[in-house]
């Protein structure tokens, strides 16, 4: 397997742009999400150091990291980048406290009660982009990153963390796990997905005794191999590891999926797979 991990890392190194960042795909412009995941995967290497340097100076506006140079903020990717910076012991040029403060000032919009679903639309956590509704994935990434920084930063507001946790609990599917957004729509339950469930579980590590977390962990243990992709399997592996659960089947499935992951060349997926499979990793970036 060490060859496989080496191939993943080598593929990442080959895909690194001259500016030190990564696009989602080879030859594409550097973007925040793949650059942050690659920095995590390559930490301790020269390429990882270059990635950390890029994150240090990543373009921002009012403390919010832009999804790409000249683009707009994306709160989920801002959260991922904060996780990478924490793991790489990296500061942003504008000060990490500014990034944390800015992330807490933005909220998903509050919607009026709706008869299309059972969720509580008054809860506000994080949306993907400004002026839109809160969704599971951005909420989970932002919550995890703020929890990760909280011990070192007294500016992290417990009330924001609490509301984000309540939103995730509220959006969980009846059988455990998370869809990308609603748990039901127009009277029908929606099914959970592996990647969103894994990210939400990572964000709720402090709530292990909550019935929703227990149900969701059971879902992930049972269905962790059901979605064949580098991203889904890597996130499932990370979540199961962090919760101390058996992960052999997920790890094997991820190794089996690598040829397709490599062929499709998505740097974010390759970096996540490399990080999850590395025997050197203690998964500290995702562990609270």
């Amino acid at each position: 397997m060490s060859n496989g991990i080496h191939n993943l890392a080598e593929s990442l190194r080959r895909g690194q742009n001259a500016d030190g960042g990564w696009g989602y795909f080879p030859g594409k412009a550097s973007r925040l999400e793949p650059t942050a995941f690659a920095a995590l995967a390559l930490a301790g290497t020269a390429a990882g150091a270059a990635a950390a340097a890029v994150l240090h100076q990543w373009p921002s506006r009012d403390g919010l990291l832009l999804e790409r140079a000249g683009g707009e903020p994306n709160f989920a990717f801002h959260g991922v980048a904060l996780l990478a910076m924490r793991a790489c012991r990296n500061e942003h040029v504008s000060g990490t406290a500014a990034l944390i403060g800015a992330l807490q000032r933005v909220k998903g919009v509050r919607l009026a009660p709706s008869n299309t679903g059972s969720q509580d639309n008054t809860l506000q956590a994080w949306s993907w982009i400004p002026q839109t509704f809160s969704w599971v994935e951005p909420t989970a990434w932002c919550l995890l990153s703020l929890k990760k920084w909280a011990p070192m930063n007294r500016e992290v507001d417990p009330a924001r963390l609490d509301e984000a946790e309540r939103l995730l609990i509220n959006r969980s599917c009846p059988a455990g796990g998370w869809n990308y957004g609603n748990a039901d729509v127009l009277g029908k339950d929606l099914r959970p997905y592996v990647p969103t469930s894994a990210i939400a579980l990572l964000a709720l590590q402090h709530r292990r005794d909550h019935p929703v977390v227990e149900r969701s962990l059971a879902y992930l243990e049972k269905h962790g191999t059901s979605e064949r992709s580098g991203t889904a399997l890597a996130l499932a592996l990370l979540a199961l590891r962090v919760y101390g659960r058996r992960d052999d089947a997920v790890r094997s499935a991820l190794i089996g999926q690598l040829p397709i992951t490599m062929a499709l060349q998505n740097h974010a997926a390759i970096a996540l797979a490399a990080y999850a499979l590395s025997s050197e990793q203690t998964y500290a970036a995702f562990t609270l």
């Binding site: 994306n74 982009i129 957004g181 992709s229 499709l264």
Partner: protein, 344 residues
């Protein structure tokens, strides 16, 4: 190679458009032309040429064992479509994977179309998709089996959610937005083929060639499920996307379609044809009539029929099989029952 932007994109307008939000949908059904109520049309008629007649082909495909390369090749011939030297982007509809359902454009239809277009002289053919909520495209192409066909036929795949983007001016202003970010690869293509699965849709009534363009909007820029466009109104977004991207051809997978609570939780419904045409309004209007919906009462189709293409059956030239061969009545949610066609 001329880019789509250079070839088709006009300068942007500075006037605001009218916003038709999802919640206004049913209300809009009773309004002949919502945009007119806002004072001025959200498009410049001079920018659009609606043909006097539009050809729509219906070609039989009993099941997915059919030779879709041959079916699409027949369609290209009978519709007189020339793709020689063109850089083609096929945009299938890939939403979610569930076994034994009819959510996605079948990979055999996508592969068959790619082979037919190559044989017809296209310079290159790529497949591109940017799913609306499952942003893990590797999962979708793996589980649906599309990946195997892409590999076998050496067809390149473009993740439209995560590709590089460029902002282009919108050619109509129903959403009120002035510009939209689109995939660079999409903009570089000079022949765009929308390849939907024919389905009923719990918000828009029906999803086919036009609604399929939601998947061209980059999620990395706009979030999932393309939040901004949903907030600006699904119907408005469908209109602006089609007015701006102007797909050159529609190839609709209606071999097994979906009825009821589409686009994900509906039931498979065998219909048995592939629809093709270069006027997406005519193609979708024909599909609507086949499944028993009145296209003139689907707000986005009705509005599109005023400037993007032909809705009126008298302006649609049928090729291949007659509509009557496939005409049926799809199960729809209660809210859409008032727009059903009356069948004899």
């Amino acid at each position: 190679m001329p880019s789509v932007q250079n070839r088709r994109m006009p300068r942007s307008h500075s006037d605001g458009g009218c916003v038709l939000a999802r919640r206004d949908f049913l209300g809009a059904m009773a309004v002949p032309f919502v945009a007119a109520a806002c004072g001025r049309p959200p498009y410049d008629p001079a920018l659009f040429h609606r043909p006097s007649m539009s050809a729509v082909g219906l070609f039989p495909a009993a099941d997915y064992a059919a030779d879709f390369s041959e079916i699409v090749a027949r369609g290209l011939r009978e519709l007189g479509i020339d793709v020689r030297g063109r850089h083609v982007l096929l945009k299938p509809n890939m939403v979610e994977y569930e076994s034994n359902t009819a959510i996605n454009t079948h990979p055999l239809v996508v592969a068959g179309a790619a082979l037919a277009l190559r044989s017809a002289g296209a310079a290159d053919v790529v497949v591109g998709e940017g799913p609306g909520h499952r942003r893990d495209i590797e999962y979708l192409v793996t589980q649906t089996g599309l990946y195997d066909h892409l590999r076998e036929h050496r067809i390149r795949f473009v993740d439209l959610n995560h590709d590089d983007v460029r902002y282009v001016p919108l050619r109509s202003r129903f959403t009120g937005l002035e510009t939209i970010a689109l995939s660079s690869e999409l903009l570089q293509a000079d022949f765009i083929v929308t390849m939907p699965k024919l389905k009923t849709h719990h918000w828009a009534g029906m999803t086919a060639s036009m609604k399929n363009l939601f998947g061209t909007v980059p999620g990395a820029v706009y979030g999932w499920p393309k939040n901004i466009l949903h907030m600006k109104g699904i119907e408005n977004s469908i209109l602006d996307l089609n007015a701006t991207i102007r797909p050159n051809l529609a190839i609709v997978d209606a071999v097994t379609a979906m009825e009821g609570d589409g686009p994900i939780m509906g039931k498979p419904r065998h219909v048995g044809f592939i629809a093709m045409g270069s006027d997406v309004v005519s193609v979708d209007a024909t599909c609507a009539r086949i499944i028993g919906l009145d296209p003139a009462r689907l707000p986005y189709l009705r509005t599109a029929g005023r400037f993007l293409g032909n809705l009126d059956v008298r302006r649609i030239q049928q090729r291949g099989e007659p509509v009557s061969r496939y005409a049926t009545t799809f199960d729809v949610l209660d809210r859409f029952k008032p727009i059903r066609l009356e069948r004899p």
